[in-house]
């Protein structure tokens, strides 16, 4: 794959399919197997849904900026937005305990991201906005890509 692939789309739910296809293509070109491609697609879908529904609060006009790059042993996706600062520590984890009636499903999206990727980092900066960086560890680069 090229060193870096980028996509900028409007922060709207109808863009999720476009984002998903972009991520799948970048991940396949980077040499990920189909299971890992699906994991990255799902994690990015959840991250972008979070941006649209919470950072932009469903208000149109904002953008989502995606970047994919491969290193020797990782595939790294960053998702940037200029919406409301996102504080992951304010989101309680989903309650998946044994008491069926007490289970809460809020925070599932964040939980998906953390379970499906090897690393997930959140940053906020006044100039660049929110940045989520998600890392998937992968095998060595195929010989024909060297």
């Amino acid at each position: 794959m090229p060193d870096k692939s980028c996509l900028t789309v409007p922060g709207r739910l109808d863009q999720l399919i476009i984002i998903s296809e972009f991520i799948a293509q970048a991940a396949r070109q980077a040499g990920l197997d189909e299971r890992d491609v699906f994991h990255v697609q799902t994690a990015v879908d959840e991250a972008c849904t979070n941006v649209i529904q919470h950072a932009y609060q469903g208000i149109e006009g904002g953008e989502i900026i995606l970047t994919c790059r491969r290193t020797d042993d990782t595939f790294i996706v960053t998702v940037r937005d200029h919406g409301r600062p996102f504080d992951p520590s304010a989101v309680p984890p989903p309650d998946l305990g044994t008491d069926l009636n007490a289970r809460r499903v809020g925070g599932l999206g964040l939980y998906f991201m953390r379970r499906l990727m090897d690393e997930v980092h959140f940053e906020f900066d006044d100039k660049t906005g929110n940045t989520v960086t998600m890392v998937k560890r992968i095998g060595p680069r195929p010989q024909d890509d060297l």
């Binding site: 799902t42 879908d45 998946l96 998906f112």
Partner: protein
């Protein structure tokens, strides 16, 4: 997302959730679930045979509908879950909550016996 009566048990209402059930398409699933519950259909079977993807938004909608159905003596179960969707359920621990069956026939029978 239209509902229909189960081919195997007339008291079971089947909703075929197909394609990508992401945040864009979850409202259609929610509408189908709410319509069924409003009509007193509390034995709900979600047929996932044609589902390609199920996001946390979609799962949340199913979870809430399941709670509603159970509070009225019914239940919500899944059938024909594709491997990718099953994996998401397993990763999130939701296989302990949502009973899943291989076929519509098996799921319809289980809903009728349990409900």
């Amino acid at each position: 997302m239209n509902g229909r009566v189960s081919s195997f048990q007339p008291s079971v209402w089947v909703i075929e959730a197909s394609g990508r059930i992401d945040a864009m398409h979850t409202p259609a699933l929610e509408a189908a679930l709410q319509e069924a519950l409003a009509q007193g259909k509390y034995r709900l079977l979600i047929h996932l045979g044609q589902a390609r993807y199920l996001s946390s938004n979609g799962l949340k909608a199913l979870f809430i509908a399941r709670q509603n159905a159970r509070s009225h003596g019914g239940n919500l179960v899944l059938c024909c879950t594709p491997p990718r969707v099953r994996e998401i359920l397993e990763i999130t621990g939701l296989t302990q909550i949502f009973a899943t069956y291989e076929s519509e026939k098996e799921a319809s029978k289980a809903l009728t016996v349990a409900g």
